[in-house]
């Protein structure tokens, strides 16, 4: 019923209690959280985890109730067991609660979930276009492709302070372009304008995108016009993250829905009915 993505055989997810090792400011509106998760399975770029703080604080509380989906930014080394890094933007109640947790406290993590990004052909030219929270979803992909592919990363946000992970991308030594609405960093304007410019060269290219729905929709349109394959990683609301609540449905052009958590989060952008995506 749905085109298979990704070559790798993925590990089964686990539910674990993670130790917060760090939870520091990242830019003006985001946080970088480091979590020690004993025996966290291996994961592939594009996979995510469901995080929640509330139910585990000393004062067991039920509001906000639902865990929040977050990309697994990357694996890191930490004493005593595997550890992962999460970069998140503080947008509302769930992420504010995460932001309150201090090193030494615990959070609940379920993952790795979802499917990996598909592999581009080795050597193939790859453009990664990311904005807002979506930036965190593509770093691991960029890190994996830097050696195998000729890679350019285009990052966008409203303003410089909203950007995250820029230094990490720079440290990859890849081609990096930034656009902000107010021009406070990089070019003034939309990251999608950078995409249009980049696609003017005739080379065959594969585009990966993650970010606000408007931005991804625009990417999909630009790529369709340029006849370039585009992979979009969606960020729907989720309750479970593993295919049982049916809450994360993304409408498909051919009718019906895909589940972002189970069939994605990465999809061929041409399959998504962007107009009907919340």
């Amino acid at each position: 019923m749905f085109p298979m993505w990704g070559g790798e055989s993925l590990h089964a997810p686990v539910r674990a209690i993670a130790d917060v090792l760090a939870n520091d400011a990242e830019g003006e509106s985001s946080r970088r959280m480091q979590l020690r998760v004993p025996d966290f399975p291996g994961f592939a770029p594009g996979q995510f985890a469901m995080l929640s703080a509330g139910p585990l604080m000393a004062a067991r509380r039920t509001d906000p109730l639902l865990p929040r989906p977050m990309a697994i930014y990357r694996a890191i080394d930490a004493p005593g067991g595997s550890a992962v890094e999460i970069l998140y933007k503080i947008t509302g109640r769930g992420t504010s609660l995460l932001a309150e947790t201090r090193p030494g406290q615990k959070v609940s993590i379920v993952g790795p979930l979802g499917r990996a990004f598909p592999h581009p052909e080795p050597g193939e030219r790859v453009l990664i276009v990311a904005g807002g929270t979506g930036i965190a979803s593509v770093f691991d992909l960029a890190a994996k492709l830097r050696s195998s592919n000729q890679l350019s990363v285009l990052l966008g946000s409203r303003t410089a302070g909203d950007l995250m992970a820029v230094e990490d991308f720079e440290s990859l030594g890849i081609r990096l372009q930034i656009a902000t609405d107010d021009g406070s960093r990089g070019a003034r304007g939309q990251v999608t304008d950078l995409l249009s410019a980049a696609l003017e060269s005739a080379e065959s290219t594969r585009v990966f995108t993650c970010g606000p729905t408007q931005m991804m929709h625009r990417c999909a349109q630009i790529c369709a016009a340029a006849d370039v394959p585009c992979i979009a990683a969606l960020e729907n609301h989720m309750a479970c993250g593993f295919g049982v609540c049916l809450g994360c449905a993304a409408p498909l052009v051919r009718g019906g829905y895909a589940l972002v958590c189970r069939d994605g989060p990465a999809f061929d952008a041409a399959l998504i009915d962007w107009e009907r995506l919340p």
Partner: protein, 310 residues
């Protein structure tokens, strides 16, 4: 009594023998196998599979879910693979030794009966639960479970369609839950499950629209637990068939409350999303409670709520 094995956790839910009183609720546990990575499904008393219709059904447009204080709202509609596909592919995938209850939903009584008939007598299916209460399917707005006469017809038709254990899942959106439970008992149901999600509305003041594309949705999670507990207690005063208590259960302590109120077993719903192994943890916790309180059989707790002496 410090040894786990010394507590008898088994219960009989209207002819469905359960190794412990903890079931996973329909629509929150998929078709079971989704949870295999997180727990051995045999740690549960069993689970109720996603409600099934005659044909496969596509759900509502998104947004389908939202958060509310200590709760979530959903308007999934009854997206499911259909009864035949369930029997052909989903059921065989469920590990042996896992007790499976199938759930039936339809928009007309004869279709309900047909779903029940197809599920009836299928090996591996320990019993049926008919969902008379989906709060967001627009069957003329009003739910089967909201009208005693309609509910009676539905239960009677389902009863004719299956010889096996038959549970009826009640809607909380009623004036007299006890009356609805009596109707089910009268028409030959072997038990009642309650409550389903409570009909609710959440609005986004920025867009001035409901947050759910469907408009109304079903409220579930801890917020509704005190309402569910009240309804289970009221139903238990009215009928002698066993009751399966549902609503906001997130701990063994919560589950014990439902037993004390009169439930023979419980179903865990929304909490499965937050903590996929919670059903097993609750089952263990209930046994621990029994040990601490020198109670040899969990069934001995059923209906043991002490009421104010007035």
């Amino acid at each position: 009594m410090s040894d786990a094995t010394s507590v008898d956790t088994s219960v009989d839910l209207g002819g469905i023998p359960l190794r412990n009183p903890v079931l996973a609720a329909s629509g929150t546990f998929g078709y079971g196998t989704e949870f295999s990575p997180f727990l051995d499904l045999r740690r549960l008393g069993g689970f109720v599979a996603k409600s099934l219709t005659l044909e496969p059904r596509v759900g509502n447009p998104p947004p389908r879910i939202a958060e509310a204080p200590s709760a979530m709202l959903n308007a999934i509609s009854l997206e499911n693979v259909g009864v035949d596909e369930f029997i052909r592919t989903k059921l065989p995938a469920i590990p042996d030794g896992v007790t499976v209850i199938a759930s039936a939903f339809e928009t007309e009584i004869d279709r309900y009966a047909e779903v029940c008939a197809r599920l009836s007598g299928v090996p591996r299916i320990a019993g049926l639960e008919i969902n008379a209460s989906c709060p967001h399917v627009k069957s003329g707005g009003i739910e089967f479970g909201q009208d005693p006469a309609v509910l009676a017809q539905l239960v009677a038709a389902a009863r004719r369609a299956t010889i096996g254990p038959l549970l009826v899942k009640l809607s909380p959106n009623v004036t007299h839950i006890a009356e609805m439970a009596r109707v089910c008992e009268g028409e030959g149901a072997d038990g009642v499950s309650l409550i389903n999600a409570v009909q609710a509305l959440e609005i986004d003041t920025a867009t001035r629209r409901p947050v759910l594309a469907n408009g109304l949705g079903g409220l579930s999670g801890p917020a509704i637990r005190p309402i569910a507990l009240r309804m289970v207690w009221q139903a238990a005063q009215a009928v002698s068939i066993p009751i399966c208590g549902i609503g906001g259960i997130e701990s063994a302590d919560d589950a014990i409350k439902f037993l004390l109120a009169g439930a023979t077993a419980v179903q865990v719903g929304t909490a499965n999303y937050l903590r996929p192994a919670i059903g097993g943890e609750i089952a263990d916790g209930m046994a621990a409670y029994a040990r601490e309180h020198a109670c040899e059989r969990l069934v001995d707790l059923v209906g043991k709520l002490e009421l104010p002496s007035r």
